[in-house]
């Protein structure tokens, strides 16, 4: 592994393994998973329920630590960082879109989108967030709370929040899982549009193979084993 190959990939995983202790037995959830995501590239990870998709996503995004192996995010080896170090790295490089939206219920749509900007210390958080909400078609709902928005609208806010800082890397975990097909389709279109505009690398976790096919590369996860599949 050369340092240049690490640097050219925005995300690189090498032989990542995750084991948990279950009633005294070591249970492997991930075996030797490796993958590369180049800057601006889109990658799908598909697999059935319980195949370890969420665990892999968590480790790749630095939300969880691997039992062994290494993950480089924006060139930084995650094993060398503690939880707070990984948080700072996420703050600068990573955006998220979740299946259940994960908006802060106490904050308005605008405040939810302002959050990453504020965390990054941006003085123009408010206008920038408002512009982003305008971009996702929610310019008229800035001051609405999540509980007053439909599922599709909540996911739009989540998209605005994920892209507002133009992160180098976006993780999307079943972004349409909680939406009806028509709304899901609109969200996917928006996701890819924004991805293209921002030049963000995308890691999309889904069990929907049609959706996966829109990505440049597809990895298949089966019982904890990751394999590069057909695009």
């Amino acid at each position: 592994m050369t340092s240049s190959s690490v640097n050219s990939a925005i995300l690189r995983a090498q032989a990542v393994t995750r084991q948990v202790n279950y009633h005294g037995q070591q249970l492997a959830i991930l075996h030797d998973a490796s993958l590369d995501v180049a800057a601006g590239e889109s990658v799908a990870i598909v697999g059935a329920s319980g195949s370890g998709k969420s665990t892999l996503l968590a480790i790749l995004a630095g939300l969880d630590a691997a039992s062994s192996g290494e993950v480089w995010l924006a060139g930084q080896p995650l094993s060398g960082l503690d939880e707070d170090g990984r948080a700072l790295l996420r703050r600068e490089q990573v955006g998220f879109v979740f299946q259940n939206f994960q908006l802060m219920p106490q904050f308005t749509a605008l405040e939810n989108v302002m959050l990453p900007l504020e965390l990054a210390g941006r003085a123009d958080a408010r206008p920038a967030a408002a512009a982003m909400l305008q971009r996702v078609g929610l310019g008229h709902r800035l001051d609405h709370y999540p509980r007053h928005l439909s599922g599709g609208e909540q996911q739009r806010v989540a998209l605005a929040r994920a892209f507002v800082l133009r992160p180098a890397l976006l993780f999307a975990d079943e972004p349409t899982g909680n939406l009806d097909p028509a709304t899901g389709q609109q969200i996917i279109e928006l996701l890819f549009e924004l991805n293209a505009e921002a030049g963000t690398a995308l890691v999309l976790v889904t069990h929907d193979t049609t959706l996966a096919a829109r990505c440049a590369a597809v990895y298949r996860l089966t019982a904890g084993v990751l394999a590069r599949g057909e695009a």
């Binding site: 996503l57 939300l63 948080a87 996420r90 979740f98 994960q102 908006l103 802060m104």
Partner: protein, 825 residues
């Protein structure tokens, strides 16, 4: 970034207050702070009033208090040192006017009185304020006497064998007793008239007080000169010990209020703990989002830490204002004893509120707040509930916080510790019992309606939560039951302890030749005279040949008994109302020197049967062994004595006599006192009535605090209900989705709540029963009686209070469409 976290905390606080997420927590803090502040304000105002008025209360800088007129040498010395002085004498006696006799506290003062402070009187010329004293032949009386006897200024009033003109009504007298428990009218006369009244006799209960005033150095040097020469029975009073009865009455009131406040605070603390737990449980998902978006653990902790800090300050300020209102109400209700001129509270008292809110939050919110730092960012992906904090830090911190607050509030560490260990013991017992019952509910197959079975099962499914809820509920129900049922029980029992035919009059100061007249007076109304018992003042000087000193004892009561003279009597036959608990009563006609002791006195002074005691009675030594110990019923309203000797031995000693009886008719006491002017008759029926009235008024003042305690109790209920609301919502949605009717769902929920309330009520009933019995036995010396009704009453109260408190929740739960709940989860 720090600034951002603080701002975010503030933003969250505003939002969540509006949305109702923080309502229970905010109210719980508010109640706790209001309770603490009101007591702090009350205590502070009374303390500063006492300090400010101490000199005025004493009417002097220094007072020599003795049973005999002040030694002329002391007065010469005082004069030589440039001190001003005024002799006074006080004693109880009967006042005659308009063919009535009323017991009053007489005070004879020489001109120049008062040396400190001012008197305020109303004469025919109007209100006068300043240094005034009654002229010879004049008498001043307070409103109580004027009212009782229907007197007007200018009326003629007789004291002993001299008549006086009622010249003024006393509006304020600096060293007058404004004790809460003092209801005997007060009368002032000129010192020079004292002898002419003929009231000063052997055995009269006169207190001579020599008032002294001067600059601080003069007073101190005089004090240093006099103090070493004082004999027992004479003491110095200075502003430190001015008005001990007021100080101790208010101190008692303050302690009582403090204890009530602590109960409120404890309940509020339980509500705070439950509310914080629920609040944070509902927010760990938000924490996970912030962590995923890149906030570090310290930043996340700062967001919620600042939220709680802002909340604490807000609740502190508002609670302090509410506390000020409650305190103002207390002062208003107690204005007849406190007067209108209480100084405003100091700034420290204002700090109490915000500070106690912060202490409460530190004790109860900090541990779960610190646990927030451990919420993994991973939680955004998987809805695992993070493991709760298992460390002992939380309960320990909470305990320290409560102990600190309690000790601070009642200014009595050991008492606070007692109270908290009592509470802790109750909670532990309740917790164990509740755990047992919950386990039982899980094991025992219940038959019956679906509602009851599911309700019990629901409770058993969340055992820890059920135990916590039951414990919290029990404490608030215990408070409720104690404040309502047990209090009434105690007052009722106390009233019943006085038999209807109990003596209602005491007669004291009867001289030996007057005994025949007493018999005659009773014969006139066809009754036999009560037994008149001899009584003399005696001082204990030696035990087993060794001189007794107050310093030998650490117990305050023992010191007092040794320093002062107390009543000694003699008789031949044993008093049938006294029970001999050790040794034997002497043979009738015995001339053998010996004493019989009251067992409580023996215990206080560490005396036992066989010890030889020496008493000094008017300069004569009387030495004899103790041959028996007696148990005395002090509340029998019969004359009782600590020490009794055989008549055959001591019978020739000069003495005055005491008797108690039930007055044969309304005018009897007045006629008796008219015939025997030096005799003092104390009408106890009036005392009992007035004591009752005073207790009623004090109780009224304290109701305000009870209201706070009840509010706190209701809050705990609410918090306990809210703690499980989300889970219940989800359970119900599932049941509904599975086809349960609204009615079925309601019955399941109601049954669960009824179980919960019933179990908690049972525990609370048991607790209140034991508490009531303990208080009855320990404080009121009443026979042990367990009110078993408290158990079913507690269960009923628990079940219905919980069902009522939960009604809004039930409505919400059964009216929310299942889809909404299931989707949200």
């Amino acid at each position: 970034m720090r600034r951002l976290s603080w701002l975010m905390g503030w933003r969250l606080l505003r939002r969540e207050l509006k949305s109702g997420e923080l309502t229970v927590l905010a109210l719980a803090l508010l109640v706790a702070v209001a309770a603490m502040s009101s007591v702090a304000f009350f205590a502070d105002r009374i303390d500063s009033a006492l300090t400010q008025q101490a000199s005025q209360l004493l009417a002097a800088d220094l007072v020599v208090n003795s049973r005999a007129p002040a030694d002329p040498a002391w007065q010469q010395r005082a004069q030589a040192q440039g001190l001003r002085q005024v002799p006074t004498a006080t004693f109880p006696s009967m006042v005659f006017a308009r063919e009535q006799a009323v017991l009053a506290n007489l005070k004879a003062v020489a001109s120049g009185y008062p040396l400190r402070g001012e008197v305020q009187i109303r004469t025919r010329q109007g209100v006068k304020q300043g240094v005034y004293s009654p002229a010879p032949g004049e008498l001043w009386a307070d409103a109580r006497l004027l009212q009782k006897m229907g007197l007007q200024l200018g009326d003629s009033v007789r004291l002993g064998s001299r008549s006086f003109v009622l010249a003024a009504k006393v509006l304020r007298e600096p060293d007058g007793a404004v004790d809460v428990f003092n209801f005997i009218p007060r009368v002032l006369l000129n010192h020079a008239d004292l002898a002419a009244t003929g009231l000063v006799q052997d055995g009269s209960r006169i207190r001579y007080r020599l008032l002294l005033a001067g600059d601080a150095a003069q007073v101190k040097s005089y004090r240093d000169w006099l103090a070493p020469q004082l004999k027992p029975g004479t003491r110095l009073e200075d502003i430190e010990e001015a008005r001990p009865e007021v100080r101790s009455a208010l101190e008692r009131a303050r302690r009582f209020l403090g204890l009530t406040a602590i109960l409120s605070v404890t309940l509020s603390a339980a509500a705070v703990a439950l509310a914080v737990r629920r609040y944070l449980a509902r927010h760990w998902q938000s924490v996970a989002v912030l962590r995923a978006l890149g906030q570090t653990a310290p930043e996340v902790a700062t967001v919620w830490g600042s939220l709680f800090l802002w909340l604490g300050l807000l609740a502190g300020v508002l609670g302090a204002l509410a506390g000020y209102g409650v305190q103002a109400l207390l002062v208003y209700l107690a204005r007849q004893w406190l007067g209108d001129g209480l100084p405003p509270p100091g700034w420290l008292a204002w700090l109490t509120g915000p500070l106690s809110a912060l202490i409460l939050l530190a004790g109860f919110a900090l541990p779960p707040l610190l646990a927030l730092r451990r919420v993994p960012a991973m939680a955004v992906l998987r809805a695992d509930v993070p493991a709760g904090s298992r460390s002992l830090l939380a309960p320990l911190l909470a305990l320290v916080a409560l102990l600190g607050l309690t000790a601070w509030q009642i200014g009595d560490g050991p008492l606070a510790l007692w109270l908290l260990s009592g509470l802790g013991g109750f909670l532990a017992a309740v917790g164990l019992l509740a755990w047992g019952i919950v386990v039982l509910l899980r094991r025992v197959p219940l038959s019956g309606a679906v509602g009851w079975r599911h309700g019990a099962a629901n409770l058993a499914r969340r055992p820890w939560l059920a135990v916590i809820q039951i414990a919290a509920l029990s404490v608030s129900l215990l408070a409720l039951l104690t404040l309502t049922v047990v209090r009434d029980d105690l007052i009722g029992a106390w009233q019943r302890s006085l038999p209807p035919d109990a003596p209602d009059s005491f007669l004291i100061n009867l001289q030996p030749p007057q005994r025949a007249e007493l018999v005659q007076a009773f014969a006139k109304v066809g009754r036999s005279a009560p037994e008149a018992l001899p009584m003399t003042r005696a001082r204990l000087t030696e035990i087993n040949g060794k001189p007794v000193k107050a310093a030998d004892y650490t117990d305050e009561r023992a010191q007092r008994l040794v320093e002062r003279e107390f009543n000694l009597s003699w008789r031949d036959a044993a008093n049938p109302r006294n029970q001999i608990v050790s040794g034997q009563w002497w043979q009738p006609g015995s001339k053998t020197p010996q004493f019989s002791l009251e067992e409580g006195l023996a215990e206080t002074l560490r005396l036992k049967q066989g010890d030889t005691l020496t008493f000094d009675i008017a300069g004569t030594r009387w030495q004899a062994p103790v041959t028996s110990l007696r148990k005395v019923a002090w509340d029998s309203f019969q004359p009782n004595f600590f020490v009794i000797a055989p008549s055959g031995w001591m019978g020739d000693q000069a003495a005055s006599y005491i008797a108690s009886y039930r007055a044969p008719d309304a005018g009897f006491n007045n006629r008796l006192v008219a015939a025997l002017p030096n005799v003092t008759v104390v009408d106890i029926s009036a005392i009992v009535r007035e004591v009752r009235a005073v207790i009623d008024r004090l109780a009224l003042a304290i109701e305000a605090m009870f209201a706070l305690t009840l509010a706190a109790g209701v809050l705990v209920l609410w918090a306990a209900m809210a703690a499980t609301r989300d889970e219940r919502l989800y359970d119900v949605a599932l049941l509904r989705a599975l086809g349960a009717s609204r009615r079925q769902v309601r019955s399941v929920l109601l049954a669960e709540l009824a179980w919960l309330g019933g179990v908690a009520g049972l525990m609370a009933g048991g607790g209140a029963m034991v508490l009531g019995a303990l208080v009855a036995v320990q404080l009121f010396n009443l026979p042990l009686a367990l009110n078993l009704w408290l158990l079913p009453l507690g269960m009923l109260a628990g079940g219905s209070v919980v069902a009522l408190a939960a009604w809004p929740l039930l409505r919400r739960v059964t009216h929310t469409p299942p889809s909404e709940v299931l989707r949200a989860n």
